[in-house]
Every structure is written in structure tokens, then in C-alpha cells.
Symmetry: C2
Subunit: 206 residues, 2 copies
DNA sequence: CAACTAAGGTACGTTACGTACCTTAAATCG
DNA sequence: CGATTTAAGGTACGTAACGTACCTTAGTTG
């Protein structure tokens, strides 16, 4: 920010307005969020870093959580869906991507935001959408391919079934208290639970 | 607390010491926690309610989180393991117990504490232990009975398999943003995922 | 140009965590 | 029993940060 042309310099008297200022604030929030996480994100620090003051921030975002969420959304990326040509490979690859994501600083930030957003379902839904592995759609795609290849039973094409692997992985995080799991665990989830579940289907109760 | 004999009354000059005071503080913390949750639990209010001051509280618990956890532990109860004589009934009954627990004020408190405890694995482990449905042991017991009765395949006797139902239920909470799920969901989890998983076991990859 | 708007600057009320320090009742020790 | 020690009771306060209020001023619009 030393020589940023948009900066309000002591002598320059040039005020950023509208989108330019909003962008500067967002960038500052992103930087603070990635450096220190959500808990340490303060309106004061973001404003200072953006070279403005809290008024400008509050004029755009009603509160700290909203700003945190906006900053997070700047950071999130979409993950490419793996296509290895076989079910086990696809699922393992996608699980590994997810594992990497959740063990990254980004994962911790997301968890903090989810916790702070505690009671707001729509907000939660929007946050979930940012973590690509949470939705059923990509998993259904992977499973759909497997069904087409004859690797899985057609009855297994159900969102809750399709997402079992990722759900189990996230449960591992809870149990372990850390947002990462060793690769053997991923392999075990796939081989001991997921594959048996989708390949042969016993009769369900009537 | 109107006529509690242990109370330091204005004229009585009788100070509670040691365990008696600790108990009074804990009781106050429990009351505050159940009435207002962890976020609204303050050291000031607990101390006032216990008829003491923050020094006494801080002499026993290093910080607010520790006090919150101690109070929570006073509250937690053990749930009886259902035994309906058949697998589906057992699993459904235990899931229903869990659903009721997590949708109770106690569940919200636990979630708050887990979130506040964010980076401390041992602490987390201890908290988890308080929520009886999280551990694998009861689920393995239920599944073990089913295996003995011939209702489930012996290879399914694995902690990760046994806990699939409860893990899926908790994922429902995350997806919904509320700590409760309709009974049809519980039934679906059991019938669509859990029972097919444990009854017939396809070959796992070598 | 005047009016309006948003940016920049400053101040402040409120809340609560946690710490420090003092007085005093109660327990312990010689 | 008196002296010493310890913990309880009481009070004060530094700090941090959220969010609000208000004022000045640069920039835009009609």
C-alpha cells in the first residue's frame, strides 16, 4: 500500500469513492483474515489497513460477521471434479482434495465463520456452497458415472449415500480435534464403508 | 438463595470456604449456562449469582471456557442403551434419543463449548465423551447384538461402520443449520444407508 | 453554483475479560 | 492463646473492540 495510486495520501487529497473504496476494504479484510483468522479480525484493523475508518466499513457491511463472510468469499475457489475413469479413484481423489482444503488455513476460517453464523440457516447455506465438497451434486456426478460404468448399483444414487464418504471424513475431524486425517483413513473410509455400500445393495426394509 | 444457610449474609459474617464455595459457584454457573447459554455466560454474573466475586472464581478456573466446561459437565447425563430385540429398532431408538438430545438446550451449549474450545484436542476429547451418542462403543454394542442375532454381517463390526447413522444425522444438522431433523430423515438414514451397509457386505478392494 | 452524498476523522458509551490490591474472616501453627 | 497464614469478600481499573454518533470536507449531481 506504499505507492498505491488509489491511496488517500496526506497531501494528495484524493478520496476513493464507491467501488474503489469497497475493493480496498475487501482486500484489507482478506489480508487480515488470512493472516490472523476470523477471531482476530477487527473492524478497526481492517479499516486502518484499508486506509479508511470504520464508518466506511459499517456503511457497507452491517457487522463483523458480514465482513468476514464477504472476505471469505473472495478467497474460495472451486475445486475441479476428478475423473480417473473408475469409482475408487474418483472418490479417493476428491476426498484428498477435500482433506487438503479443510486442513488449510481456509478451512479454519470457514469453521470459524460457520460457528459465528450459528443460527442463520440461509447464511449457512451460502457458506456451505463455498466449500465445494459439501454439496451432494459433485458426489452424485461421481457416483452417476460409476453407475453408468456398472461399478455401482443404481439404487445407490441417492444424495445421502453419495455423500457418506465426505461426511465420514468430516466426522474424523471432529473426533480428532484437528481438521486433517491421515491418508490411510481416507482409504479405509472408501474401502470399508463407501465401496461396500454402493456396490451391492441389500434389501431395504419395506 | 433467599435463605440458603451457606450464604454470606450482610450481618451473618459467615464466609463459605473451599468446597462449599466451589459448589455454589458451580451451581450458579450451571444456572446461568442453562438459562442463557455459553455466549451470555459471564464471570461477573456467575460470581454475583453465587454471592461471591470474580477473584474466587478465577482462583479455581483459569478462564471462562474452563468454567463453562465444568458447568456443562455437571449437566450431562448418560443415556440408556435401547434394546428392542432387533437391529432396526435399536438403531432408530438410539438415533431418536440422540436427536432429542442435540435439539435440546444442552446440545446448543455443547456446540458453543466445542466451538470455543476450537484448538484444544484433549479438551475436545473430554467434551465429546459427555455426549454419549458420539462414541463408537454403544453403537458397537448395538451392532454386536445384531451380529449375534444374525441380522448383520460380522465384517460390519467396525467402529466407523457402526457410527455411520449418527454421523449422518449430525451432518443433517450441519446441512439444515438447525440441530434437529424430522423423524422421516432418521428412518431414511437407517433404511437407505445403515441397514444396507451392515446386512450384506460386498467385497472390499484388496 | 448550491445541494447532496459519502469519505475521512474523532469521540465515546458499553460490555466484559482478566488483573491488581486492600481488608477481613477463618484456619492453622507454635 | 496469640501470631501467622490463607482464602474470601470488596473495589478499582487497564485493555480491547463493537458499534454509534457527530463533525468536517472532498467529490458528484442537478
Amino acid at each position: 500500500m506504499a505507492d498505491d495510486p488509489g491511496t488517500r495520501s496526506g497531501t494528495g487529497q484524493t478520496r476513493r469513492r464507491g467501488a474503489a473504496l469497497e475493493e480496498a476494504i475487501l482486500r484489507a479484510a482478506v489480508d487480515e483474515l488470512t493472516e490472523s483468522g476470523y477471531a482476530a479480525l477487527t473492524m478497526e484493523k481492517v479499516a486502518a489497513r484499508a486506509g479508511t475508518n470504520k464508518n466506511a466499513v459499517y456503511r457497507r457491511w452491517p457487522n463483523r460477521l458480514a465482513l468476514g463472510i464477504a472476505a471469505y468469499r473472495q478467497l474460495s475457489t472451486t475445486v475441479p471434479l476428478p475423473d480417473t475413469g473408475e469409482l475408487r479413484g474418483d472418490v479417493l481423489a476428491f476426498l484428498r482434495l477435500a482433506n487438503r482444503h479443510w486442513s488449510s488455513p481456509l478451512g479454519a476460517i470457514l469453521r470459524e465463520l460457520l460457528s459465528a453464523a450459528g443460527g442463520a440457516p440461509e447464511l449457512l447455506a451460502r457458506m456451505q456452497g463455498q466449500s465445494g465438497d459439501a454439496a451432494a451434486a459433485p458426489w452424485l456426478t461421481i457416483l452417476g458415472r460409476a453407475v453408468a460404468r456398472g461399478e455401482a448399483a443404481p439404487e445407490a444414487l441417492h444424495p445421502r449415500v453419495a455423500t457418506v464418504a465426505i461426511v465420514l471424513l468430516r466426522n474424523e475431524y471432529v473426533v480428532r480435534g484437528v481438521p486433517t486425517a491421515p491418508d490411510e483413513v481416507l482409504v479405509e473410509i472408501v474401502d470399508e464403508v463407501f465401496l461396500p455400500l454402493v456396490r451391492r445393495r441389500g434389501p431395504s426394509s419395506g
